[in-house]
């Protein structure tokens, strides 16, 4: 990781964000409106109240840092990304609470200055589009050029350089639709890097990529971070994606848990974050954690017999759900390579 400077890359201060639900606007306008939470005592959405997606989020990201944001689907990850990108505004929320600064600027100003590079989910692009990998990167860099001007030669150099950095030069002139999932993701990273951003946001970057491709992609992001000093924020529901090469991990499920290392991801935190994913099947879950070395369950023996790709850098807790008992069991995995979890790709 490169040396951080004093100004944080991203400052999120006590942000609460809610979407309007059917009738909530009318209710807000017609009656006294006190609650912004929109949930009853049992956690059910109350008709006529906004749906709170993010609750009291405070997070500082240093320049050059690599932050992974882990959370279940519906946990508010995409909303947080959109707020950072300026695609959603806190003023548009019924709560209007908190503040977000990107390199000291508002998200909209940061977007206009192109300080944020964004890598979206691959599946959302039209892969049948008649365009080469190089063309995809040029599209991004050409957006700031007035329509009556050609794209400057210097910008074309940035395109080639970005493709070089991600190792996509070999297939730069191939149609985007003929590339593999991993190659497309590299091109998307090149597109984000071509505008020389200071912050790189990756949204579910490893969806649809095979395990080997995931490992290579993690190495790529690490290399890019070291080479350019760009701040990297990876958002995913997949723990392997998030822990691979991140300095710090934040768990987001409407509220935020932040940790300085993957060791801080205790089974308890993971169970809390992903609780609603399993509670519908198993009922309320709780955590029974024990060290991998102390594991006496013979059914788990095979899990320690092979190496884990990320074990040395990313020791994590693995959760297991015992349907018969209706509980979640987690095992803390040691940081040594010999005692690794079975979550290997």
């Amino acid at each position: 990781m490169t040396q951080s400077t004093t100004m944080p890359a991203i400052e999120i201060c006590d942000v609460t964000y809610a979407y309007h639900t059917p009738w909530s606007k009318a209710r807000q306008a017609s009656s006294e409106y006190a609650s912004v939470r929109g949930l009853d005592d049992r956690g059910q959405q109350v008709l006529g109240t906004p749906a709170t997606v993010l609750q009291s989020i405070t997070l500082n990201v240093s320049q050059g840092e690599r932050l992974g944001i882990l959370g279940p689907n519906g946990g508010g990850k995409s909303t947080l990304l959109k707020l950072i990108l300026g695609l959603l505004s806190l003023d548009g929320s019924p709560t209007r609470h908190g503040e977000i600064r990107v390199l000291g600027m508002t998200p909209n100003a940061a977007r206009r200055k192109r300080v944020i590079g964004y890598v979206p989910q691959k599946v959302e692009a039209e892969m049948a589009f008649p365009i080469s990998a190089r063309g995809v990167v040029e599209l991004a860099i050409a957006q700031g050029v007035p329509f009556w001007k050609r794209v400057p030669q210097a910008s074309r150099y940035l395109v080639s350089n970005a493709l070089d950095v991600v190792g996509a030069s070999a297939y730069a002139d191939k149609p985007i639709g003929t590339l593999s999932g991993g190659q497309v993701q590299r091109v998307m990273v090149a597109r984000a890097l071509a505008c020389t951003p200071r912050i790189l946001l990756l949204d579910e970057p490893m969806v649809g990529i095979d395990p080997a491709g995931q490992r290579h992609f993690a190495e790529l992001i690490d290399r890019v971070n070291k080479a350019t000093g760009v701040t990297v924020i990876v958002v995913s529901h997949d723990i392997r994606t998030v822990v691979a090469g991140c300095d710090r991990i934040a768990c987001l499920s409407r509220t935020l848990h932040s940790h300085t290392s993957a060791q801080g991801l205790t089974p308890g935190v993971l169970a809390e974050v992903f609780r609603h994913d399993v509670s519908a099947i198993f009922g309320d879950v709780h955590v029974d954690a024990h060290a991998a070395a102390a594991c006496k369950d013979p059914s788990h023996a095979h899990e320690h017999s092979h190496a884990h790709a990320y074990a040395e850098t990313c020791p994590v807790a693995q959760l297991e759900i015992s349907p018969g008992l209706g509980q979640t069991r987690g095992r803390e995995v040691g940081s040594s390579g010999g005692q690794s979890s079975s979550g290997a790709p």
Binding site: R112, P120, A125, E126, Q143, F147, R191
Partner: protein
């Protein structure tokens, strides 16, 4: 050789030339748009917009019947005898098509229905409304001329309107080429690069509505749908580079229109239907070429 004899006759040339000019302008216009329509999977939207024109025709017929000979002579004659067309009729049909296109967007986004369902609803509702309004206005409109077009109805006014709309849309596409291509390729990411996605969508809908109105008068709503889909579908089978795809789309559309006009003159078939058939044959050939190349 009916075609040669028609064009050698100065009197016939005066009738046919506007048709050819309008046809070529429409071909160029639709070819440009069809690439975006096919890639953004808006073929059904194009069909919905073109069929929504029936509703506009009904409104135009009703307005013409109210205005009568005094206020809406051209409109009345266009709807009744097919001898001409007025700017007012174009404007009414265009506004109706545009409203239908925007309504589809609103229904799909806020009405809680899927986009294809919204298009289906707007399509049949517009046709039903058009049918009722034409009945109420007691117009002598011939439905088949709006389905497949009527060569004799295309005059120089139509040709100039087609040229004007083609030039306007071509210039617009040139100005917004970078954001609209980015938006078409990756709508979600384009927002992060400052592309006004909603504006791009509305702009495309406006251009589709204009193109529909232009083509409809030439050769009917069936052709309008075909012209907004087939050139792009053909071109995307022949190349994987955007600039080449657009060139192929224009070539396919021009060949389709000219081929259709010649075949129509020679065999006496309805013009719109003939153009659609020629374009379909071109599509089959393109599929064959693609298979032979094995590039997919």
């Amino acid at each position: 050789m009916n075609t040669w004899s028609y064009f050698a006759d100065p009197e016939m040339l005066g009738i046919l030339l506007p048709c050819v000019v309008a046809g070529l302008a429409s071909a160029f216009l639709c070819a440009l748009l069809s690439v975006f329509v096919v890639i953004k999977r808006l073929a059904f939207v194009g069909q919905g917009i073109s069929h929504a024109a029936f509703g506009g025709i009904g409104v135009a017929a009703l307005v013409a019947s109210f205005l009568g000979a005094a206020g809406g002579t051209a409109l009345g004659s266009a709807m009744g005898t097919g001898a001409g067309v007025s700017l007012a009729q174009y404007a009414i049909v265009f506004v109706f098509c545009l409203a239908a296109a925007l309504m589809v967007g609103v229904l799909a986004r806020k009405g809680g229905v899927e986009a294809d369902t919204a298009i289906g609803i707007i399509l049949v509702a517009s046709m039903a409304l058009g049918s009722i309004l034409v009945y109420v206005s007691r117009s002598t409109i011939k439905w088949e001329s709006f389905l497949f077009g009527n060569l004799l109805e295309v005059g120089w006014l139509d040709a100039w309107i087609a040229i004007g709309i083609t030039v306007a849309i071509s210039c617009t596409l040139y100005v917004v080429r970078r954001p609209i291509i980015f938006w078409t390729f990756d709508e979600n990411a384009s927002r992060a690069w400052g592309v006004p996605a909603r504006t791009m969508q509305i702009l495309l809908m406006v251009m589709l509505a204009l193109a529909t109105v232009t083509v409809m008068k030439l050769a009917g709503v069936v052709l309008a749908t075909a012209m907004l889909v087939l050139p792009g579908a053909i071109a995307l089978r022949l190349s994987r580079r955007m600039s080449i795809v657009i060139v192929w789309a224009v070539v396919a559309a021009v060949v389709g229109v000219l081929g259709g006009i010649v075949a129509s003159f020679e065999a006496g078939f309805p013009l719109g239907a003939t153009i659609v058939c020629v374009l379909t044959v071109l599509f089959a050939i393109a599929c064959g070429v693609e298979r032979v190349r094995g590039n997919r």
